[in-house]
Point group: C2
Chain length 104, copies 2
């Protein structure tokens, strides 16, 4: 059974849902960094100057709920948590690429 359950509001406009899932402070940057490999909470805080725990935590949680990122507990030396792009997240790369033509 592969029932998915990720909704984030239900606008009549399909684009609106995706826009909501991707916008919000720090989300695009987090997505971008996740593109290069798994990201971690404290590391993100250091890589995103001006960010803060609360906002990053919220962004990560919402992106996880929207099935963009997958949260994994890594049972290794300094036991930690990794966020990786989900399949859906990977597919969203095309959305980002379609935006890159528009320099302004």
């Amino acid at each position: 059974m592969t029932t998915n359950n990720f909704s984030q509001g239900d606008a009549s406009c399909p684009a609106e849902n995706i826009l909501k899932q991707l916008s919000g402070k720090w989300k695009p940057q987090i997505f971008r960094l996740a593109l290069e490999g798994p990201v971690r909470f404290n590391s993100l805080l250091r890589q995103l100057p001006g960010s803060n725990k609360q906002s990053v935590a919220t962004a990560l949680k919402e992106m996880e709920e929207a099935d963009i990122l997958v949260k994994t507990i890594v049972h290794e030396k300094p036991l930690h948590i990794e966020y990786t792009l989900s399949e859906r997240g990977q597919a969203m790369v095309s959305v980002f690429r379609s935006m890159e033509g528009f320099l302004n």
Copy 2:
């Protein structure tokens, strides 16, 4: 001389600018309606239940500043104003289309 001057914040992330230009309440819907033809202020207010003058006015102004819509005064019977998708706006259709795969 074709000097363009549309900036809306300057994030390092190119996608972030576009996201800012497209998100915000009513903007996706206005874009969608503009896709079918020129749109007008009062007509938008009627077509977007729950909207209000202020928000629609702001959305139109920002979308104009972002060179998504073009404002035109139509010197006709009941002298009015039309907002049409600019070339840049038309090109952005691809961004919207790339989002349509993601039903949730």
